[in-house]
Amino acid sequence: MLARIGAASVDEFFIDVPPAARNPVMRLPNAQGEIAVHRHLAALAQKNTSAGQSAFFLGAGAYRHHVPASVDHLIQRSEFLTSYTPYQPEIAQGTLQALFEFQSQVAMLLNMEVSNASMYDGSTACAEAAMMAARVTKRRKIVLSGGVHPHYVATVRTACEALGLEVMALPAAIDDEAAVVRQLSNEVAAVIVQSPNVFGTITDLTSVADAARAAGVLTVATFTEAVAFGLIEPAGGYGADIVCGEGQSIGNSLNFGGPYVGLFTTREKYIRQMPGRVAGETLDADGQRGFVLTLSTREQHIRRDKATSNICTNSGLCQLAWTIHMTLLGAAGLTRLARLNHENTLTLADALAALPGVSLLTPRFFNEFALRLSRPAQDVVDQLAARGVIAGVAMSRLDPRAGMDDVLITCATEMNTDEDIAAFARALKEVLA
């Protein structure tokens, strides 16, 4: 192998690794018995505060919701767990049917015509949408609003800049999704907007989509909290061309930030440029209803460098959990769940905004909002954590250059009790005093 790649020795092969980092002496403890190792690791794990041990108000892209025990039970059935995501188009009919139901549910939830079989997470779905828009329009510039989650902006940048696309991210703005309209030109492939955005603001995107369409620009609407669409109009209804985002909040736990499940929908006319695969419904040789992977011929394992995207799989198990949870909820259940979220969030907003040194910045919200504090938000978050309240995410942590060090993004779901909210308000009052 060394001869083949043109290296004379193993040392030469690793020449780019700094000498100090090459074969360092590992100071590992001696081997121990299983019981001792278990005890040691359990002690390490206890250094973490888990979401369930605290009054927990984190959101900003990952949401703590109740996942019924039946979801975990069903996804671990061997028929689902072992077949996972198929490559052979007709194999694993049960998995294919679950994918088909998932796509139907996602298309209904987001009010769009077609859904793929899922992507890795919301941010990569957003990056794929940007690349797809460039393929559709044959243009090379992507404009993101100041309300798009900074992590999504970073992911779009990573994917697009490697393709030589120009990425313009507008400065962070709590309530100005429409700012992208001022950047429209015949060089722009897509404007990417978010509702509810990273500050929780809900925006009617109709005027953005109308203006973009008139300029030959695709509107990509993203989101981080899918439960919102139990109450508010999804962007499909506003005329967006691609609606994509994070599906974690349905069926999936926080899981330290992943694995999650990206939702990706578009208009039927763009289906050939859509990344990923689709499970289709068909009839088998005996005329019976069956399912088959379709459009996966555009994926990397078949089209290599000419594939529509680098994805050639989907988030199988997370997608299955999503489908099962959504099936258990039903449309009416989702609306009830969304209402519970909103009611708790209203209670939280009332309790916090009444405190001295706190002002509510988000004009229209679902289960998340931004507050301006009289002190740097990260300090406040740290001090509240010491009091057993996980208060939210400081904007400075998501985007240190936003100039919003005093902004805290906080969220309430159906998991927060009145006691949690009272504890948050009490602790915040003390810390700001």
């Binding site: 188009p89 050939r272 088959v292 379709t294 011929t297 555009r298 078949i302 089209r303 000419k306």
Partner: protein
């Protein structure tokens, strides 16, 4: 009318300067049911051997190369709604594009029907 073939299984049928082009019956038999054909824009200039279209069946998506150099002057819009035309009539109604050949002498580099059939028999 004379058909000419490439080793990649495209065909061309010259009518004066203009050539109808598509993929051969043999190619379609290998692909199975065609589900989609992605066609070039009218007015695009292509070089012989350049990828100009994509044919997609249930299990594969393949590039289709221009058999002759020239300008695309027409595409078979019927394929958008009825891709199965390619299966039914690969070398007739299932044509892909019409190219105004810039150098009709290029057909001398292609195989005639007999030579192509001999090639296919050997595959």
């Amino acid at each position: 009318m004379a058909y000419f073939y490439t080793k990649d299984h495209e065909w061309a049928r010259l009518e004066g300067q203009n050539a109808f082009c598509g993929i051969s019956v043999y190619a379609v038999e290998q692909l199975g049911d065609v589900v989609y054909v992605e066609l070039p824009e009218i007015g695009r200039s292509v070089k012989a051997g350049e990828a100009m279209a994509v044919v997609e069946s249930a299990k594969a998506a393949s590039d289709v190369y221009a058999p002759l150099s020239g300008t695309v002057i027409a595409v078979n819009t019927a394929l958008a709604g009825k891709p199965e035309l390619v299966n039914e009539s690969a070398e007739g109604e299932g044509w892909f594009v019409q190219i105004q050949a810039s150098d009709p002498a290029e057909q001398n580099a292609l195989m005639d029907s007999d030579a192509y059939q001999a090639l296919v028999k050997g595959l």
